[in-house]
Amino acid sequence: MFYIYCPYCQEHREEEEFHAAGQAHIARPADPDNCTDEEWGDYLYFRKNPRGLHHEMWVHAAGCRKFFNMTRDTQSYEIKEVYKMGEQPQIVSEQDSIARGTA
C-alpha cells in the first residue's frame, strides 16, 4: 500500500484514492493519420517494463481527479518524486539520460 503525495492536493494520501494510469511521457503522435501501422502499434501497445526507475502516470481518482507523473523504483517501490503533467522528471535512470542525450 503506497503512500502517495498528490502534487495538486499537496498532501500525502493513501493508495486507495489513486490508480496507476500507465507509463508517463507517451505523447500522442501529432499526425496519427500519417503514422505507419508499426508506428501506431508502438504508440498503442509497446511499453517499458524496467527493473528500477520508472516514470509512470497516476490519477488522484477519488480526490482531485488530476493526473500526474511519478518516478518510482519498481524494485523497491520507493517513490522518488511526483511532478505535474507537462513537467519533466528530475530523477532519471542512467539509461534514460543516455537515450535523452542522443535523442
Partner: protein, 1007 residues
C-alpha cells in the same frame, strides 16, 4: 483430572480464578493467566495432534507463535468455530471448547499412523509435487483421503455472530514487540512527545523479561518491565497494544496489526464489543524489536511428545508454574538453554543430564551447573529418542567437533522430557515482508535483517543480540533515533539501568545431530513438524537435483504450514547446504511473506460484510419500485428494476406484457442510472468531436445526437446521447456501468494531450432523475403533465430536447428513443424524481401506464437492432464491425480518437467478425447467449468457430425468438444458415439476417 504438573506457588497465573475448559470432549481445569497449552501441560496432556503426513502423535513444543503442533479448532458453537488457533497463544477462559485439528478418528489412535509407520511409502518426499505433475485423477483419489486424515481445520457453517473492526492510525514511531528492546524503545521515543504505538502479540507485555533470570537495577527483570509499562500507560502519546500481532509490514511503512480484543474472555464477544480489530497503521518510523525464536535441534524421533524447546520449558515453569515432566534431559549447543535445567531443578524435579554438543563449554552457566550439582555431558548429543506417545528415554553418544559424526559409545538415559536448543534465530519475518533479504552472520549463527527500503530500525534479539543489557541499550537508542528521524528534536536520552547478567560463552553452529546410522536409515529426524519434513527428505531433494532452497522448499513442502516454518526453516537450509557442500549463505534463505501468523477472515473483512460488503446505489424512485414488486438487477453498483412481475406471472409472461405495453400503449423506464456528464467551456464542442467518432461541429442548440466512443485502437467502448444546451455547454450520457470510466477518459485526454482546450467536466448522474416514457400514448400522457412544452410532432422533433416543467417541476425533456417507439426522456432534479414519477402514474392510470425494467429494455432495443456497449461489444469490435459506419465521420479535420486505430490493416481486412441478426429455424427456441456458431455441426472437434451470440431474447411483439451475434464475414452471409451446438448435444439452427427485426424504416417513432 488434577493438574499434576502444576507447582503450588509461583508463576504469573491467578490460582484464585480456576477455569474449566473442554479439550477433545473432555473437561480440564486451569487458571486465569494460562494459555490452552500451559493448561494442557499442567494436566499432563501429552498428545495435542497428529502429524500431517505420517500421522505421528505430537505434543506441545513451543510456548509462542512458532508452535507447529498444538494447532486447535476452537469454538463452543457451530457459529463460533475458529480453525488454526495456536494453543500456545490462546488464553484460557471459562467454558473454552477446543479440539485437535489434525487427527482422525482420534489423536490417540490413528489409521494413517499405520501407513506412516509402514515406512511412509504412501507419501514419499515430493509426493505433492509429483502428484501435481501426474494426471489430475491421481490427486482426486488421494485428496479426499489426505484432507480427511490430516485435516486442516474447518470453517463454521453458520454466520459468525461477532463484530470485527478496522481502524486507521497514523503514528510517528511504531514499535513492534514489547520485550526488553521494544519497551526500552517505547520509553525513549515517548519522551520526545512523538506519537507511539507499541504492539505485542502476547497477553502481557514484557516478553522474555517476564521469566528472565537476570536482574535490572537490583530487582527482578519483570519488576523493571512492570514499572516501564506503567510509565508508558501514563503517557497520552503512547498506545500500548497487547494481544496484537503485527502480521504484515507493507510498503511505505504501512503495517497491519491484528488485535484480539475479546478472544481471551468468551467464546463470542460480549454484546456491543468488537471481537477483533485490524489496525491499519501508517508510521513515519518503525522499530522492529521482534526478538528471536529458539531453534530446536534435529535428531532421531525428535517429534515424540515430551520433546520441547529449552526456552519453552523455562517459560512454562516460570510464567505458568507448569513443569511439563518429571525427568529432563537437556541438549544444547549454547549457554542460554542451561536456564531450562536450572528452572527444572529448582521446581524440585529431576535433571537427568545436560548434554552439551560443545567439547569444551565454558560460560558462567557451566560453573552454575556444577554448583547446582547437575550432570553435564560435554562433546555429546542426544542422537535418538525412545518412546512413541511420550518420551521414555534417550540415546546419548559422543560426537566429533564438526558435529557430523556420532562417535559412540551409545549410552541410554531414562527420562520423559527432552529439551533442546540449537541457538536463536532472529525473528526477521517482518523485515522480509517488504522485499529485504536477510543476511547470514556467522557470529550470530543466524540470519539478521538485511538492508531495507523502509524507514525502519531494529533493536534487540532481532539483531542477533543476546545480552539483556545490549538489548536494552539498542532499544533506547532505536527509540530515540526513530523519534529524531520522525522530526522530534528534543529527545532526552535515558541512562541505561544496571543489568546483572552472566558472561555468555561461544555457541556451536550445529543444526542436525548425527546418528550412528546414515540419515536415510536412521529413525526420522524432523525438521518441519507441521509438514512432516525430515532431514532425510531434504537430502533426497538435493540428491534429485533441487539445489535452490526455493525448490527444496516446494519439493518437500518445508515451511508451507500455517507456521511458515518458523522453527524448521533454518535447520532445513543448514541440512540442504551441508548435503550440497555449501555454506548456508550460499544456499540462501527463503522469504517470509505476510501474514506472520494466521489472521481470521473476520478481521480482514471488518465491517465490510453483509449490507456493507459493497456500496449500493439507488435511484430516487427506488422506494416506488420496491412497493410495486420490482425484482432487481445489479448494474455496476446500481440496483436497477429488472422487471415488475404481477401475481401469478412467469418471468416471460411479465416481459411479454411489459413489451406489449411499450409497443401498443405506454410504458415507463427508470433510466436515472445512465451516466450523465456536464461539459462546459468554449472548446467543449471541439472536444466532443475528438472523443466521439461522429461529427459534432454542426449540432445546434436544442438538439441531441447519438455518439460512439472508441479507444485509440479503434474499438468501441461506450456510447450514448449528448445534448447541446448552449454553444459552450453539453450534457453527455454514458452507459450505466461506464460512467466513471468515461469521465476519467475525458479528463485523461484533456489533462495530458489537450490541456490548452478550455473545457470542464463534472458528473451529474446523481443530480438528475431520468424517466423514459415510451409508446404510442406517450405524447398524450406527457401533454397532461406539461403546459409549457409543445410536444407536437413538428414543434418537438425527433432528437430535439426542450426545457420546461413537468408536473410543475423544472425539467429537460429529450425526444430520443431506445425502443423504436415515440418516446420522451424526462429529466428532473433528483429530489423531485419520485414526486414526478408518481404524478406520471396518477395520470397514466387511464392509459394503463406500465413500468418496465432492464430486461424489457433489452428486448425492445434488440428488436430494433440497437447495441449495448459491453454486451454486444467486447473491446475487439470497431464501429464498422457493428455495421455503424453511419456513426463514423471521415470529414473531421482532427484525427479523433479511434480513427487511426480502426484504419489499421487488421481492422480493414476481410473476414472480420461482424454484428448480425439471427433468426432461429424454430421460432420458439432462444439461443443461449455466448453460444458459438459453426458452419457444419458435424465437423470433427476442434470445429471452425464463426462467432458467438451476444444478445438473445424471446420477442412477444414479433412472436418469435431474436438474437444478435458476431459472425465472421457476417454482412456477406445474409440468408445463410449457421449452427449453434449446445452442451446437451443438441444443435440450434439459425439464419443470418439484419439485426433490425422491427420497423427498419423507423416509422413507429416518427409520429
Amino acid at each position: 483430572m488434577t493438574q499434576n504438573n502444576r507447582l503450588s506457588s509461583g508463576g504469573r497465573i491467578d490460582r484464585s480464578q480456576p477455569l474449566t475448559f473442554t479439550f477433545n470432549g473432555k473437561q480440564y481445569q486451569g487458571f486465569k493467566g494460562d494459555t490452552v497449552a500451559s493448561a494442557l501441560l499442567a494436566n499432563g496432556v501429552d498428545i495435542v495432534g497428529r502429524s500431517f503426513k505420517y500421522s505421528r502423535p505430537r505434543g506441545v513444543i513451543a510456548a509462542g507463535a512458532e508452535e507447529p503442533n498444538a494447532i486447535l479448532q476452537m469454538g463452543a458453537t457451530e457459529a463460533t468455530q475458529v480453525p488454526n488457533v495456536r494453543a500456545t497463544q490462546q488464553e484460557l477462559f471459562d467454558g473454552l471448547v477446543c479440539q485437535v485439528t489434525n487427527g482422525w478418528p482420534s489423536a490417540e489412535f490413528d489409521v494413517m499412523g499405520l501407513v506412516g509407520k509402514a515406512g511412509g511409502s504412501f507419501m514419499p518426499p515430493g509426493f505433492y509435487y509429483k502428484t501435481f505433475m501426474y494426471p489430475q485423477s491421481m490427486w482426486d483419489t488421494y485428496e479426499k483421503c489426505i484432507r480427511k486424515a490430516a485435516g486442516l481445520g474447518r470453517s463454521p457453517r453458520e454466520n459468525d455472530p461477532d463484530i470485527y473492526d478496522h481502524i486507521n492510525q497514523h503514528v510517528d514511531v511504531m514499535i513492534v514487540g514489547g520485550g526488553a528492546a521494544g519497551l526500552a524503545a517505547a520509553l525513549s521515543a515517548s519522551r520526545s512527545g512523538a506519537r507511539v504505538i507499541l504492539a505485542d502479540e502476547q497477553a502481557e507485555l514484557g516478553g522474555s523479561l517476564l521469566h528472565a533470570s537476570e536482574s535490572i537495577d537490583g530487582r527482578p527483570a519483570s519488576e523493571w518491565a512492570a514499572e516501564v509499562i506503567a510509565q508508558l500507560e501514563a503517557c497520552d502519546n503512547v498506545q500500548l497494544l497487547p494481544r496484537s500481532t503485527v502480521n504484515g509490514y507493507h510498503d511505505h511503512n504501512f503495517l497491519t496489526i491484528h488485535q484480539r480484543c475479546t478472544d481471551h474472555l468468551l467464546d463470542c464477544a460480549p454484546i456491543g464489543q468488537a471481537r477483533q480489530r485490524m489496525h491499519r497503521v501508517r508510521a513515519k518510523w518503525v522499530v522492529l524489536a521482534t526478538g528471536a525464536h529458539e531453534r530446536p535441534l534435529v535428531f532421531a524421533n525428535n517429534d515424540v511428545p515430551g520433546c520441547m524447546l529449552a526456552s519453552a520449558v523455562t517459560t512454562y515453569i516460570k510464567r505458568y508454574s507448569v513443569v511439563p515432566g518429571e525427568r529432563l534431559v537437556l541438549m544444547t549447543t549454547n549457554d542460554s538453554a542451561y536456564q531450562a535445567a536450572f528452572d527444572w531443578a529448582e521446581s524440585g524435579r529431576f535433571v537427568v543430564a545436560i548434554v552439551d554438543t560443545r567439547a569444551h563449554p565454558g560460560g558462567d552457566v557451566i560453573d552454575e551447573a556444577n554448583r547446582r550439582g547437575l550432570k553435564v555431558i560435554a562433546g555429546s548429543a542426544v542422537i535418538e529418542v525412545k518412546g512413541s506417545k511420550r518420551v521414555t528415554g534417550v540415546s546419548v553418544s559422543a560426537i566429533n567437533q564438526l558435529g557430523d559424526k556420532a562417535l559412540g559409545p551409545v549410552k541410554h538415559l531414562t527420562c520423559d522430557t527432552v529439551a533442546s536448543s540449537g541457538g536463536w534465530s532472529p525473528a526477521v519475518h517482518l523485515s522480509c515482508h517488504t522485499g529485504s533479504r536477510p543476511v547470514w552472520r556467522d557470529d550470530v549463527i543466524g540470519f539478521v535483517p538485511g538492508n531495507s527500503q523502509q524507514k525502519q530500525l531494529t533493536a534487540g534479539a532481532i539483531n542477533g543480540t543476546a545480552a539483556l543489557s545490549t538489548c536494552l541499550q539498542e532499544g533506547f537508542q532505536a527509540g530515540r533515533e526513530a523519534a529524531i528521524n520522525a522530526g522530534f528534536d528534543t529527545v532526552p536520552s535515558i541512562s541505561l539501568p544496571k543489568v546483572d547478567e552472566r558472561h555468555i560463552g561461544a555457541a556451536m553452529a550445529l543444526f542436525h545431530i548425527p546418528h550412528s546410522k546414515p540419515t536415510s536409515r536412521a529413525p526420522k529426524q524432523f525438521v518441519d513438524f507441521q509438514t512432516d519434513v525430515t532431514a532425510a527428505g531434504i537430502e533426497i531433494a538435493t540428491r534429485e537435483g533441487y539445489e535452490s532452497i526455493e525448490h527444496v522448499k516446494r519439493y518437500t513442502a518445508m515451511g508451507f504450514g500455517t507456521d511458515q516454518g518458523k522453527l524448521g526453516n533454518i535447520n532445513g537450509m543448514a541440512i540442504a547446504a551441508k548435503s550440497m557442500n555449501k555454506t548456508i549463505p550460499e544456499t540462501g534463505t527463503t522469504i517470509f511473506r505476510p501474514n506472520y501468523t494466521p489472521v481470521t477472515f473476520g478481521a480482514v473483512a471488518g465491517r465490510h460484510c453483509g449490507e456493507l460488503f459493497d456500496p449500493k446505489r439507488y435511484s430516487a424512485m427506488h422506494s416506488w419500485h420496491l412497493k410495486n414488486g420490482a425484482l432487481f438487477e445489479d448494474v455496476g453498483l446500481w440496483k436497477r428494476p429488472w422487471y415488475f412481475p404481477q401475481a401469478g406471472e412467469s418471468m416471460q409472461e411479465s416481459l411479454n406484457r411489459e413489451c406489449k405495453a411499450a409497443r401498443e400503449g405506454v410504458a415507463i423506464l427508470d433510466a436515472s442510472t445512465l451516466g450523465k456528464i456536464d461539459i462546459q467551456g468554449k472548446d467543449a464542442r471541439e472536444f466532443l468531436g475528438r472523443i466521439y467518432t461522429n461529427a459534432w461541429a454542426k449540432l445546434a442548440i436544442g438538439k441531441c445526437r447519438y455518439g460512439l466512443m472508441c479507444g485509440e485502437d479503434g474499438m468501441v467502448f461506450d456510447d450514448g446521447v449528448t445534448a447541446c444546451l448552449a454553444d459552450d455547454h453539453f450534457v453527455m450520457t454514458t452507459t450505466t456501468g461506464g460512467a466513471a470510466r468515461v469521465l476519467e477518459w475525458l479528463e485523461l485526454y484533456h489533462q495530458t494531450e489537450w490541456p490548452e482546450m478550455e473545457v470542464y467536466f463534472n458528473t451529474v448522474t446523481d443530480q438528475w432523475s431520468t424517466m423514459t416514457i415510451s409508446g404510442p400514448n406517450s405524447r398524450k400522457l406527457l401533454s397532461e403533465l406539461t403546459g409549457d412544452i409543445d410536444l407536437s410532432r413538428d414543434a418537438f422533433k425527433f432528437m430535439d430536447w426542450h426545457e420546461g416543467t413537468v408536473a410543475g417541476v423544472p425539467a429537460r425533456v429529450f425526444r430520443i428513443s431506445f425502443t423504436g417507439e415515440l418516446s420522451f426522456e424526462v429529466n428532473v432534479p433528483a429530489n423531485y424524481g419520485l414526486y414526478v414519477w408518481e404524478k406520471v402514474f396518477e395520470h397514466g392510470a387511464k392509459y394503463n401506464l406500465t413500468p418496465y425494467g432492464t430486461e424489457t429494455m433489452h428486448i425492445l432495443r434488440a428488436e430494433k437492432g440497437f447495441i449495448i456497449a459491453g454486451q454486444d461489444t467486447d473491446g475487439s469490435v470497431t464501429p464498422i464491425d457493428l455495421g455503424m459506419d453511419w456513426c463514423v465521420s471521415n470529414q473531421k479535420p482532427y484525427s479523433y480518437i479511434g480513427k487511426r486505430g480502426m484504419n489499421r490493416e487488421d481492422c480493414l481486412r476481410k473476414n472480420r467478425k461482424q454484428l448480425v441478426g439471427l433468426k432461429t429455424k424454430r421460432s420458439d427456441v432462444v439461443i443461449p447467449e455466448g453460444s458459438q456458431a459453426v458452419a457444419d455441426p458435424n465437423e470433427p472437434v476442434p470445429m471452425t468457430m464463426l462467432g458467438h451470440i451476444t444478445s438473445s431474447y424471446y420477442s412477444a411483439c414479433l412472436g418469435r425468438s431474436i438474437a444478435m451475434g458476431m459472425i465472421r464475414d457476417g454482412f456477406e452471409r445474409m440468408g445463410q444458415t449457421v449452427y449453434y451446438p449446445q452442451p446437451d448435444g443438441s444443435v440450434i439452427e439459425a439464419e443470418i439476417c439484419s439485426p433490425i427485426f422491427l420497423d427498419p424504416k423507423g416509422e413507429r417513432q416518427n409520429v
